[in-house]
Symmetry: C2
C-alpha cells in the first residue's frame, strides 16, 4: 500500500482550504458510526441507508490518493499533519479524534470524548482503546522532546474501568540516557472527567520509543538543511 | 451513559433478522471512512456529501437505544454478542472488525484487514491499534479458558513495524494458579500476512485479566441456574 510520505508535502494554501470541510465531513461520519451501532430501525431501512452510503462513497472516490494518508510533513518537523492517524486523524472517523496540546514543560495533554464506538465492557471504554490513546500521547511526548520514534514496547496498567465519556491523557518523556539518545522512555496516564470536572485515574502507561538508524540519519540531514 | 447489559438479551429471532443488514451497513460505513480519508474531491463536494451523511444519520436515529450497545448475553455465556465492541463489533465501523475463532486447544485466533483508517506511521498500522487487537484477543482467550476478566495490565513488545493489510492475532491463557483463579495470565502475538501467505511476527503481548468479585458471584449464580 502506498502512502504520502515526508517528501510529499501539501501546500499551506491547500491545507487551509481542505481542513475545514474534510474535518466536518469526518465529524459527520463519526456521528453516523454511532447511529449505526445504536439504531433500531427496520432491517429494510438499514438496507436502504446502506445503498445511500455506498453512493456517497462512490462520489468521494471519483478522485482519491492511491493508498493510506501518511504524513504530509517531515518527520523532524514539529507540524506533522497525520490526518489519517487512527488516534488523532482529522479526516479519520475511526479516531475519536483525540486533540493534543503541548505544555511548556514538554508534557503532552490529550482530550477526547469516547462514545458508543469505543466500547469494550458494557458502558466502558475498550481497554485496547485506552492503550491506543496512550500510545499516541506517549509517542507525541517523545516527538516533542526532540527524540521521535516508533513504539518498542508499551505497558498499560489499568487502575479503574474507563467509563465512556470525556477523557484526558497526559505524557512526558524522561531525559535521555547518555549514549542512547535514540531511545526515549515516556510515562503517561489516562483520566476520565466527570460532569463536575473531577478526574479519575484509569490507566498508567510507560513506553519506549526508538528511532531506526535510517530515520536518524534523515533527521540529521534535514536539520543540516534547515540550518543553511 | 446507559447500555445493554446482561439482563437485556436480544431474542435469537430478532438477532437473525438484524445481523445481516446491520453488518452490511457497518461494512458500507467502513468503506465510507476509508474514502473520507483518501478523497481528493473539491471542498464543495465534501460539504455536499456531509449534508447527505447527516440526513442518513437522522433516518437511523428515528429509533435507537439510549446509550452504548453493551452486550446482549450473560458474561459467563460463551456467546456474547458485543456488536458495539471497538475491536470486533459487527455493527461498529470503528472495528476493522477482527473476526475470531477458537481452536480446540483454547487458542483464540483473530483475523482482520487493516486499511488506511488504522494508520500510525505512514503505510503502517498504528502501534495502538496493534495493542487494541491484542487486548481483545487476549481477553477472549481468558474468556474461552472459563476465566473472563477485565484487563489489569497489558504489555506489548513491538518486534517489527506492522504494514497495513492482512493481519492475524493469536492468544492463549496460561493455566490458573491455585488460589488465584480469578486472575488469568494470557500471552499472544500479532503477525502480518504477506501476499504469498507468509507471516511476519510484528508484536508479542502478555496481559493479566481479573474478574471483580461482584461479577464472580454473578457468574457462580448463573452457573448454578444453568445446572437446574
Amino acid at each position: 500500500m502506498t502512502s504520502h510520505w515526508m517528501d510529499d508535502p501539501i501546500s499551506d494554501e491547500k491545507t487551509a482550504r481542505v481542513a475545514g470541510p474534510a474535518g466536518a465531513l469526518a465529524d459527520s461520519v463519526r456521528d453516523l458510526i454511532d447511529a449505526v451501532i445504536r439504531s433500531e430501525v427496520d432491517p429494510d431501512e438499514l438496507e436502504s441507508v446502506r445503498g445511500e452510503v455506498e453512493a456517497l462513497t462512490k462520489r468521494l472516490r471519483v478522485q482519491q490518493i492511491p493508498g493510506s494518508f501518511g504524513q504530509t510533513h517531515g518527520f523532524s518537523s514539529g507540524a506533522i499533519r497525520a490526518w489519517g492517524n487512527a488516534a488523532i486523524g482529522l479526516r479519520n472517523a475511526v479516531a475519536p479524534p483525540m486533540v493534543n496540546e503541548t505544555r511548556e514543560d514538554g508534557t503532552v495533554v490529550g482530550r477526547a470524548t469516547l462514545g458508543a464506538a469505543y466500547e469494550g465492557p458494557p458502558g466502558m471504554a475498550h481497554g485496547g482503546v485506552v492503550a491506543l490513546l496512550l500510545d499516541q500521547v506517549l509517542g507525541e511526548a517523545a516527538h516533542v522532546a526532540g527524540r521521535p520514534g516508533f513504539t518498542a514496547y508499551l505497558t498499560v496498567n489499568y487502575r479503574h474501568l474507563t467509563a465512556l465519556g470525556r477523557i484526558r491523557t497526559e505524557a512526558r518523556a524522561e531525559p535521555p540516557e547518555r549514549g542512547a539518545e535514540h531511545k526515549t522512555f515516556v510515562r503517561g496516564a489516562l483520566f476520565t472527567i466527570g460532569e463536575d470536572g473531577s478526574e479519575t485515574l484509569c490507566a498508567e502507561a510507560e513506553g519506549l520509543f526508538v528511532l531506526p538508524r535510517h530515520l536518524r540519519e534523515q533527521m540529521a540531514k534535514e536539520s543540516a538543511q534547515e540550518g543553511l
